[in-house]
Amino acid sequence: MKFTSLLASAAMALGLATGAMAEDKTKVGFVYVGPVGDGGWTYEHDKGRQAVEKHFGDKVETVYVESVPEGPDAERVMTQMALEGADLIFTTSFGYMDPTINVAKKFPNVKFEHATGYKTAPNVSVYSARFYEGRAVQGTIAGRMTKSNIIGYIGSYPIPEVIRGINSAYIHAKKVNPDVQFKIVWAYTWFDPAKEADAAKVLIEQGADVILQHTDSTAPQAAAQEAGNVITFGQASDMSEYAPLPRVSSIIDNWAPYYIARTQAVMDGTWESVNTWHGIKEGMVEIGEISEAVPADVKAEALALKDAIASGEYHPFTGPLKKQDGSAWLAEGEVADDGTLAGMNFYVEGLEGEIPQ
C-alpha cells in the first residue's frame, strides 16, 4: 500500500509539474491523508478547498494530493508542492507535523498551516477545532440513549486529539448515566473501511449499542445499520445519508471560513504564524441535525449543553475531575487550561484500560 501511494503521489506531483504557472495567482496546496471521497475528515477539508476556489475565483489556484501516507512520503509531496510555486500549503493530518516543520525550514517564503498539531515555526501555523466540545454533546446523547450501558469507541491513533474526545464523551455520558461503560478499540488507521467495520462489529458483538468513531470513513455507520438497534454519530462530516438511524447526530468540521481567511492573509501580505483552536462558538465545530430517533427531552438537553458551551458559560472539562489513577486533576469549578488539553495523554477516572504508549 505504501509503495502504491508513493507512486500515486509521484504521479500526482508530475501532474502538478505540468500545470499552468500563472504568476499573479495565489497558489494554495492541500495535503490529504485519505481520499476526498471518504465521506468524513478529508471530504470536509476538500469542501474547504472548494470554498476557497469559489470565494476567490480567478485570483487563486488550488492543488491537492490525496491519500498521502503520514511519514517521509508526505515530506516529498510537500516539497514538490513548494517547488511548484505554492504560496500556502495546508497539511491536514496530525502525522504530517514533523514533515511540515522539516519542509517549512527549506522554504522560508512558503506559508504552511498544519492541522491538529502543536509545533509552530515563523512560517508554520497550527490550527485545529475543539472537537471535544462536540464530543460532550455526543456523550450526553449516548449516555441517555444506551440501553446496554455499553458504549463502543473506535479510536484511530492514541494522540491527544483522540484521547480528549474519549475523555469528553465519557465525562458527559457518565454525568447523565452513572452506569455507563466505555469499550475502546484502537484501529491504528485513519482510513480503512473494512477494518473500521470490523471494529464496529466487534464492539456490537460485545454488547455496545452506541458506537462513537474517531476514524474517517462511514464504514462503522454501515456496520451499525446492518446490526440494527445501534446508534452512531457522524464524524468530521454530517454523514446524513445514515440518518435518522443509526446516525442520530454528528460533529461537522467547518474549515471553509478559516481557509478563506488564511488565503486572504497571504494575498494581503498580512500572514503571521498563529495557533488557532476554534470550537462551537466560532463555528469551526458544528453539531449536525439531531434526528427524530432521539427523544425530545434528550435533544433539548443536548442542545442546551451545546448553547452553554458556545456562550462560554460551560467548559466540557470542568472540575471536580480526577485522572484515571485517582490522582487529582481539576478542583471543583476549575477549568482545564489549553496547554494540558493540547497534550492530553491520560484518561479521566472511570475509564478502563490503558492508553497505548
Partner: protein
C-alpha cells in the same frame, strides 16, 4: 478485562467473513502465478470489482448480478494486463503496478455517484436442521453464499492443479514455458485464461468487501488487501489449502485482536495490532520448510521465437 465477553461462536463466524476477500484474491493470484505470471495488480482489480459489483447490484437490486459484474469487471481490467504483458511483452512488475494505480483511479471515477448508498442485502443462507444446530450451525451453516464460493474455489483449484490434465499443463507452462511450447501447448492462451481467472477472483474479493463485509462504497476501500493477498500466495508456497489457512489466520487474528482490545485484555495494543501479520507469516514460513519453491518461469516473458 473480561474474556467472557468474547463470544467464541460469533468470533469464528466473523473471522470467516473477514478472511473471505483475502482468500478469493489469493486463490486467483495463485493460479496466475502457477501459470508463471506475476500480476501485482490484485489491489487494482479488487477495487474495480468492488465498485462494479456495488454499482450493478444497486442498479439491478440483485446482489448476485453484482457479484457476476464484479468478476467481469476484475477480468476486464486484467485484460489490460494481458495486452501489456502477453502481446506487448511489457515488464510484468511495472504493468501490475500500473494496473493497481489505474484501478484505484478508475474505481474512484466510477464510484462518484455511489457514495452513501446502501446496497441490497444478500442475506445468509439457511439450511433446515443444519443451520439450527447449536454452535456448529452459526459457525458453519449461517453465512452468505459467497463465503462458501470461496471455500469451493479453493477446493476446486487444489483438485484441478493436483489431479487434472489441465492442471498439469498449467503447471508445466509455469515451470518451463519453452518446454511446454515445444510440446505444442499454447503458452500465451493458457496464461491469458489464468490471468482472466485471477482478475475475476480478485473482482469477487473486492465486491465481497463492498457488498457484504462493510457494506457500502468508499473510495480506496480495499485499503491494501490486494497486497496482503500477494504476500499470502508466496508465504503459502503456492498451495491452495495453505492460502486458505493463511487467510483464515490473518482474518482471524485481525478480528480476535479487536475482540481482545474491546474486552480490555492487558496486552499492549501495539502488539495486538501487529499480531495478524507476524503470526500469519510465522506459521506459513514454518510450514514452508519443505522444499516448496516458486514456479520456475514466474515473471519471465515468453515469446515463441526465443
Amino acid at each position: 478485562m473480561n474474556l467472557g465477553e468474547i463470544n467464541p461462536i460469533l468470533l469464528i463466524a466473523s473471522l470467516m467473513v473477514a478472511a473471505t476477500p483475502l482468500l478469493l484474491a489469493a486463490i486467483g493470484e495463485l493460479v496466475v502465478e502457477k501459470a508463471g505470471v506475476l500480476n501485482l495488480g490484485v489491489e487494482g482489480m479488487m477495487i474495480v470489482g468492488a465498485i462494479s459489483g456495488f454499482a450493478v447490484s444497486v442498479e439491478t437490486g440483485s446482489p448476485w448480478l453484482g457479484f457476476v459484474a464484479a468478476a467481469i469487471g476484475g477480468a476486464l481490467l486484467s485484460l489490460l494486463f494481458v495486452l501489456l504483458t502477453q502481446f506487448a511483452l511489457a515488464n510484468q512488475v511495472a504493468s501490475g503496478l500500473a494496473l493497481t494505480l489505474f484501478g484505484l483511479g478508475l474505481s474512484a471515477l466510477l464510484g462518484q455517484s455511489y457514495v452513501g448508498i446502501k446496497p441490497p442485502s444478500m442475506g445468509d443462507i439457511h439450511i433446515p436442521v443444519l443451520s439450527d444446530l447449536p454452535v456448529i450451525g452459526p459457525i458453519l451453516f449461517q453465512h452468505d453464499p459467497i463465503l462458501y464460493v470461496g471455500i469451493a474455489l479453493t477446493a476446486g483449484v487444489w483438485a484441478m492443479l493436483k489431479y487434472t490434465r489441465a492442471g498439469l499443463i498449467l503447471r508445466a507452462v509455469g515451470e518451463n514455458h519453452d518446454a511446454a511450447h515445444a510440446l505444442g501447448y499454447k503458452v500465451i492462451r493458457i496464461r491469458i485464461l489464468a490471468i482472466l481467472f485471477g482478475g475475476a477472483c480478485a473482482g469477487l474479493g473486492g465486491a465481497y468487501i463492498s457488498l457484504i463485509r462493510v457494506p457500502q462504497w468508499t473510495e480506496g476501500m480495499t485499503a491494501g488487501v490486494g497486497w496482503i493477498a500477494l504476500a499470502l500466495v508466496v508465504f503459502a508456497s503456492w498451495k491452495p489449502w495453505r492460502a486458505l489457512l493463511g487467510a483464515y489466520l490473518f482474518g482471524g487474528i485481525t478480528v480476535l485482536q479487536l475482540n481482545l482490545q474491546a474486552a480490555g485484555v492487558a496486552i499492549p495494543v501495539e502488539y495486538l495490532a501487529m499480531s495478524p501479520y507476524i503470526i500469519t507469516i510465522l506459521v506459513l514460513v514454518i510450514l514452508s520448510a519443505d522444499k516448496s519453491r516458486a514456479p520456475a518461469s514466474l515473471g519471465r516473458i515468453f515469446h515463441a521465437s526465443h
